[in-house]
Assembly symmetry: C2
Amino acid sequence: MGIKERQERDREAVRRAILDAARELFVAEGFQNVSIRKIAERIEYSPAAIYGYFPSKDDIFFALAEEGFRLLGDPSKGERREQLAVLEPLQRIRAVFWRLYEFSRQQPQYFALMFLDRSVPRISREYERFAFAHETRQHIVEELARCVNAKVFPSTVKPTVALRVLMAGMIGVAALKLSDRLAPEEDPDLLASDVLDTTIAGLRGGVALQTPERAVTCLAEPIADQQAS
Amino acid sequence: MGIKERQERDREAVRRAILDAARELFVAEGFQNVSIRKIAERIEYSPAAIYGYFPSKDDIFFALAEEGFRLLGDPSKGERREQLAVLEPLQRIRAVFWRLYEFSRQQPQYFALMFLDRSVPRISREYERFAFAHETRQHIVEELARCVNAKVFPSTVKPTVALRVLMAGMIGVAALKLSDRLAPEEDPDLLASDVLDTTIAGLRGGVALQTPERAVTCLAEPIADQQAS
DNA sequence: TTAGAGTTGTGAACACCGTTCACAAAACGA
DNA sequence: TCGTTTTGTGAACGGTGTTCACAACTCTAA
């Protein structure tokens, strides 16, 4: 009896239609400007019908965020892996984070949903549920560990912290660009490139990351003594 | 005839009452959750009355953003200037940007409104109108130029670009924190401190910033050769 | 003092929004 | 064919930003 199966297939099809419609509106207009009613109109259902498939609007965008992490994580996986494989460890790091920035330009709505937006509480509340993101994250951490092993980064650099430091830079540039806080003459690509190179150079320079006794106050003790020549 | 004056004073008083009510609700609940009707209720006016003082809700928050820049720019100006004056140039830079991060913790709603939020279009559209921000910005750029002159930063570091690079880092950390994208065990203070130190070390290391022929592609040429030892 | 002009506040409405719920209709199992 | 289950709907609820005709009050000038 394939009836149950067909029913389930139908259900899944409608679910996907909702997500497709949501995504199209979403990449074109952004989360804020997508309403349940617009999605419903696009798929020719009543607004109430959508609540038979998703418990709330947030959950639709939670699903889209998951899609976003997948999009960011495996862009034609195979060939990219090959491209990366031929590079030096340091250049691989650069390529990985440069891609993060490129993603913010090519898929700004996805990027904002995944890393910036605060209006979809479910995404922050259940952030650890993005299995795919964790996988990608782990992969990058290993890449960074490889840099430490190859003595490209000093041993004081903790891979997990380096990940965050690099992410902060790229997310910062993306935030400046996406919220239109850059002047017309400021090129976000150049800025991203500078942030990336500066941060990588800083990591190589051997700042000790998150040693417990670090002071973080405004008037902290002198820094970067290791570079004082 | 003080009548016109008194009228204008009255008008200004109502205007300020609106802003005060808006600010209180805003710092407590965030921009998204403040409605014209709530503001109106708080000042015991009808919702429509507010439109006699502000052309739209956006404009109210535009005014609050201006307030935010003032808040960030002159926090008990005098004593702070003195505190700063006794520090080395480099530590002054650190203090300035550390304060930017501290501001994001103490006034998260203001910070988001000023640097992250994309739902108040007027703020991005007329960003250059924030005279106060420009002033502060100019002040920091000069501070950075002083670092270059004192040879704390190499001469390849353009102050205006260094400003953006440092800002990107701090805004990135703030974005990660404010949008709850950090795991519970990740300390945002430590991260901010690391980003700051790493970026400063990177700047000192002498990455050339925005030389026109810089390649910014994913598979760019080797970087940081100047540090290869 | 009184008539007109100008300013200021209001109530009701418009067109949206996310969400809920009683109900109808269709599809299924017996 | 009858009862059950699934699926979709229309209408409504309480909310949003915003507009507008109208009332009420204040000031100016005769």
